[in-house]
């Protein structure tokens, strides 16, 4: 069966001033699958997630999510779509005026009519799933970077969105929590059939969870395919990236 596409970048070019970040970049995100994006630091991976969330617009090309073209859509009309999509930010981006519990519960409190106890319950569960109990009442500035990252992860999954964009969810975390997070991503996909895009540098967890892997290099996707295809790819760029070798076509 041909997989259906949930979201895509279509010939996207994006530049900040003179600096071209993405150049004629196309990428398809398969519905119900986990797509991992790998690439060098600064290659534009976070930028792709921001495009998929409609936070920025490409200089040219189109971004589609669930059949909607995000380009030139007024912010107001994106609201509904954004309730079905969530982005777990690379640096958490929790609101520092709210406690962790309030932060994680915020999308529920704002977009649903659930009673407070119910929200509290869901938030506790979400925090538990990332190994963060007992910090409901802490403020973001009282936590470590890794704890913040996990709380940001909890906030992204708390509404059970159809599409979750995870920006380096395991970078900087210890191996045990890394496994916990990886399992949570897989479990969510299995339980809810949602679609996920994960940026990661952690090859071990990538090959544990990914259905598809895409490699971004110099502004475009240079390799894309099912996990095993990428793992055994003979593409010299992919090989060099996977082995971490300093010798190869990717300049160091």
């Amino acid at each position: 069966m041909e997989p259906t596409i949930y979201a895509s970048l279509d010939d996207v070019t994006l530049s900040f001033g003179e600096h071209v970040i993405l150049k004629n970049c196309s990428l398809k995100i398969v519905r119900g699958a986990i797509t991992c994006i790998v690439g060098l630091s600064g290659a534009g991976k976070s930028t792709i997630l921001r495009l998929l969330d409609g936070l920025i617009e490409p200089s040219s090309g189109h971004v589609y999510v669930d059949g909607h073209d995000l380009c030139h859509t007024p912010e107001r009309d994106l609201v509904e779509l954004r309730q079905k999509t969530s982005l777990a930010f690379q640096f958490a981006a929790l609101l520092d005026s709210l406690t962790i519990g309030e932060n994680v519960g915020l999308p529920l409190r704002e977009h649903t009519a659930l009673p407070d106890e119910k929200i509290r319950h869901i938030v506790d569960d979400a925090l538990e799933s990332v190994g963060l109990r007992h910090i409901y009442d802490s403020l973001p500035n009282e936590l470590s970077g890794g704890m913040l990252k996990r709380a940001g992860f909890a906030r992204a999954i708390v509404t059970r969105p159809e599409l979750v964009l995870y920006d380096e969810p395991t970078t900087g975390l210890d191996p045990i929590v890394t496994n916990l997070i990886t399992d949570t991503i897989v479990r969510l996909r299995e339980k809810l059939g949602g679609t996920a895009v994960v940026i990661s540098h952690d090859l071990h967890s990538i090959f544990r969870m990914a259905d598809y892997v895409a490699m971004l290099f110099e502004g475009a996707i240079i390799a894309y395919g099912p996990r095993e295809e990428i793992r055994t790819s003979t593409n010299p760029f992919v090989q060099q990236f996977l082995t971490g070798s300093e010798v190869g076509p990717i300049p160091v």
Binding site: E75, V79, Q83, S86, A93, L94, P107
Partner: protein, 258 residues
């Protein structure tokens, strides 16, 4: 770069500013009309900015009332019209200096804090996080601050007017032996209820200026901690200039006929 080119660039930047500001005001009004208001946040903001600004507003107004009284009493007694001092102090306080000074003080204290807070939320991606959750930063942040200022600035102005008149009365008596009864009767002759209302209308407009400029500078912050610093400074500078300009226009429109 040629002069013409630079002029063109400035013009475009200015038009962009106007466009951005108009959009901000438009969206705030839309939120207000749809009653999408976060009341708890609004009251918290109002409480904090009211309590936080009260002392400095009272002090600046007190000394201003005292100095006007000092200057006018000196002159008035010389010309034998000491009985007019109450009117002079009250008139300038209620119509001009009360609303203006309060607004300038609040622009420095609150407008800058708003720009800094929102600006740091921009650079730490908190604003993007709000948008990403489908929450409007305008409804979430701008509207509560706007309402809080719109409630508190007129209120602070009332306090400023009162304390400035009391300060003036005290100096008039201590310095020129003008008794409070004559001070008050002169004040009542010079200033009507209408003047007070017009003064408070000024305060309301100033509140909108401080809120919109502070929020806009915050939301358009670019480039890290230095950017937050720039946003804060320009929020204060721009709102103070706008307050002075608007004050003149409003005085002309409201009081010009008299």
């Amino acid at each position: 770069m040629g002069i013409l080119e630079r002029f063109g660039e400035r013009t475009i930047a200015f038009l962009e500013y106007l466009g951005g500001m108009t959009a901000l005001i438009g969206e705030s009004v839309r939120s207000l009309v749809h009653a999408q208001i976060r009341y708890a946040e609004t009251f918290l903001q109002a409480y904090e900015l009211g309590i936080g600004s009260l002392l400095i507003v009272l002090l600046t107004s007190l000394f201003t009332g005292m100095v006007i009284s000092l200057e006018s009493a000196q002159q008035a007694v010389q010309f034998g019209i000491g009985s007019l001092v109450g009117g002079a102090v009250t008139y300038t306080s209620v119509r001009e200096l009360g609303p203006m000074l309060t607004a300038v003080v609040v622009a420095g204290r609150v407008g800058s804090a708003i720009a800094a807070e929102i600006g740091s939320m921009v650079v730490t991606e908190q604003i993007d996080a709000l948008r990403s959750m489908g929450l409007s930063p305008v409804r979430f942040l701008v509207v509560p601050r706007l309402l809080a200022l719109a409630i508190m600035l007129p209120l602070l102005t009332v306090f400023a007017d009162i304390i400035s008149i009391l300060g003036g009365m005290w100096i008039a008596q201590a310095y020129a032996h003008i008794n409070p009864a004559s001070f008050i009767s002169s004040a009542r002759q010079a200033v009507g209820f209408e003047d007070v209302v017009k003064g408070l209308l000024k305060a309301l407009i100033f509140a909108c200026i401080i809120a919109f400029v502070g929020c806009y500078q915050g939301l358009s912050t670019r480039g890290g901690a230095a950017g937050v610093g720039r946003a804060t400074t320009s929020a204060v500078v721009i709102s103070i200039i706008l307050i002075f300009g608007t004050n003149f226009v409003m005085s002309y429109l409201l009081f010009g006929g008299h």
